[in-house]
Symmetry: D3
Subunit: 131 residues, 6 copies
Amino acid sequence: MSAHSPIEYRDANAKVRAVFDDIKRTRQVEEVNNFWKYLAHDAATLQRTWESVKEVMAPGTLDARTKEMIYLAVSVTNGCAYCIASHGAAARKAGMTEEMFGELMAIVGMANETNRLANGYRVPIDDAFER
Amino acid sequence: MSAHSPIEYRDANAKVRAVFDDIKRTRQVEEVNNFWKYLAHDAATLQRTWESVKEVMAPGTLDARTKEMIYLAVSVTNGCAYCIASHGAAARKAGMTEEMFGELMAIVGMANETNRLANGYRVPIDDAFER
Amino acid sequence: MSAHSPIEYRDANAKVRAVFDDIKRTRQVEEVNNFWKYLAHDAATLQRTWESVKEVMAPGTLDARTKEMIYLAVSVTNGCAYCIASHGAAARKAGMTEEMFGELMAIVGMANETNRLANGYRVPIDDAFER
Amino acid sequence: MSAHSPIEYRDANAKVRAVFDDIKRTRQVEEVNNFWKYLAHDAATLQRTWESVKEVMAPGTLDARTKEMIYLAVSVTNGCAYCIASHGAAARKAGMTEEMFGELMAIVGMANETNRLANGYRVPIDDAFER
Amino acid sequence: MSAHSPIEYRDANAKVRAVFDDIKRTRQVEEVNNFWKYLAHDAATLQRTWESVKEVMAPGTLDARTKEMIYLAVSVTNGCAYCIASHGAAARKAGMTEEMFGELMAIVGMANETNRLANGYRVPIDDAFER
Amino acid sequence: MSAHSPIEYRDANAKVRAVFDDIKRTRQVEEVNNFWKYLAHDAATLQRTWESVKEVMAPGTLDARTKEMIYLAVSVTNGCAYCIASHGAAARKAGMTEEMFGELMAIVGMANETNRLANGYRVPIDDAFER
C-alpha cells in the first residue's frame, strides 16, 4: 500500500494503545490527533516521539504557552501546514491571544527577512558576540 | 568591488548616520553591530529594516525576552550563523538563562523533527483544528 | 493564462512526444506522470530534466531502491507534497517495505532535529572529520 | 557567557558521564564528538538525543551504511556544515565508497531541483499515487 | 477562534481601510488579495508590510517585471503555494511571458541543485571571489 | 579519505579535462572555480552539471545579468555561502551594479518575510490567480 490511513484505537495493537492512552491522560483529551494515528504505523517511532514531545513540552523554566509559540514559529518558518494548524490550536489552548499571535507572526516574518539580509551581505560575526 | 566591507560611522552619509544614531539611542549601545554597518551600503533598506525591527521587537503583549527567543528559534531553524550569534547574545541580554536556552533548543529540534514526520506521513489536518 | 494545465500526448509536439516515449519505454509504464506533463510547457527543460533523472536514477553502485529512498528523504525534508507522493510510490515500487519506510522517516526526523541542535549550539567541526 | 565551549569528560557531572560512556561503548571510540560535548550543557537533551539516535541508527531492516547515507542526504539538503562533516565521516566508516558518495550527491542535487520544478509548475498529485 | 477568516472592507476599521484604499489606488485594482485581508487581523503588521512591499517593489534600477520574477524565484524555492500563485500572477501581469517563466524555473531548479552540490562537496570559497 | 581536495587540471583524467577546457572556453577564463575542481571527483556529475548550467545560463529571453541575479536570489534564500560568493561575483561581472544588488536583496528579504506571513495566516489562494 503506498499511502497511509489513520490507525484508530480499536484497530491498534497493545503498544500503540498504551501510547494513545498516555497521550489522552496527559493532555486530558478524548481522542488523539491525526499525527499520532498516522505515526502509529511505526510503533517504535510513535512511542519515542511521544516520550520526547512529552518531556520537551512539559512546563519547565519556560511556561507551556511560550513553548507552544516557539514550536509554532518553527513550523511557520518550515511551512508545515499540518504543524501550523495543530500547534496554532495548541498555543491558543495554552493561552496565546490573537494579539500575541500577531506579534509572533511579525517576529517570524522579520527574522526570515533579516536572516537572508545577513546571508546576502555576508556579514561577519561581531567579536562582541563571541565574548 | 564584489564583496562588501562595513561602513563605519565616520564614513557614513547623513541618512545612514541618522539611523546609526537612533539604533544607539534605542538600544543604549556605543556601537552598532556589523549587520547594520553592512546594510548601510543601501540606506533605504537600512532605514526600512531598522524601523521595522524597532517596531516589531518593542515590548508589546510579549516581553522582550520572549520576542528575542522566537527570533532565535527561527534563526536556528534557518541555519543563519550570524543571526544565531547576534540574537543569541540579544536574548541573553534580555534575560534568557542557559536553562531557558536549553529548553528553547529542545523545542526547536523537536519541531524540526515532527514537521518532517507530518510531511512524510502526509497527515491530513484534523477537523478539530479548523473549528 | 496564469496557471498551467497538463500537456497530454495527443497535444504534444514532436520533441515532447519523443521524451514521453522514452519515459514510457524506460519505466515500462503506459502513461507519464503529471510532473512530466507540466514540464512539457518547456520542452528544453523537460528533455534536460528527464535525461538527468534517467542518468542519476539508473542502478549504479547503489541499487534502485536505495536511490529512491534517498530521493524521498530529500523531498520529505523540503516538504514537497508532490515529490513525497511520487517518490514514495516509486520507492515502494522498487521494493521499499513499510518497515523500511518507517526507518527512513525516523532517520529523516532525527537528522532534521540534530541539524538544528548543531546550528544552535554552534558546534565546531572536529579535527578528526577533516582527515 | 553567551557562546558555549565543549564540556570534557573530566569536567562533566555523573549524568553526562554516563551518556559519554555509553556513546564510547556503543560506537567503540575513545572520545565523543564535539556535538555531544556541546549538548552536554543540557544533560536532559543530551541523554534524550543520544537514546533516540542510538535507537534510530541501530541496524534494522536497513543496514548501517544506508542509514548514514540517508542522514547525510538530509544534512546536505539543510546545509548543516557540522552534520555534513560528521555524517560524511560516519557514512564512510560504515562502508560508503567515493563512488557511492558521488551517486548520493547526484540524487540529492536532482531531488532539490525537481522539488522546485514541482512547486513552481504547481503540479497536482496523480490519482495513481493515492491508490 | 483558532483559524482566521478574511476581513472584508465593509467590516474593517479605519486603519485597515486606509491601507486597503492605498493598495487599490497604487495597484489600480478593485479588490485587495486574500493576503491583505488576512493580515488585516493585525493592523500594524498590515500597514508595515504594505509600506515595505510598496517601497521595495516600486520600479527602481530594476524594472517591475524583473522584481516580480525575483520574488517568484524565492517563493518557489521556499515552496510557498500562496506566494507562487500570487507572484506568478503578478509577474505575468508585469510582462513575464511563458518563455521567461520557463527560463526562470530552469534557473531556480539548477540553483537549488548546485547549492547542495556545493554544500555536500564542502567547496571552499575561491580567493578570486573575495577580491 | 573522508573530505575532498580540489582536482587540478594537471591531475585530471581526460573526461574531466574536456569539461574544464569547455568551461574555460565558454566563460573565457584561465582557471575553473573550486566548484568544478571538487565536482571533478565524479566525472559524470561534473559533465552533466556543466552541460546543464551552460544550457540554462546561456542568454535566452532573459539576459545573462537577470539570470545571474535570479541564481543569486535563490542562493541567498538557501544560505549557501559558496554560491552567494560565486554567483555574486558572476552577477557583478554580468553587469549587476551595487544599486541593483541592493534592490535584489530588498526583494529577497521581503519575499522570505511574506512567504512566512502567508504560511502562518494560512491564506487561501484567490480564485483570481487560478483564472
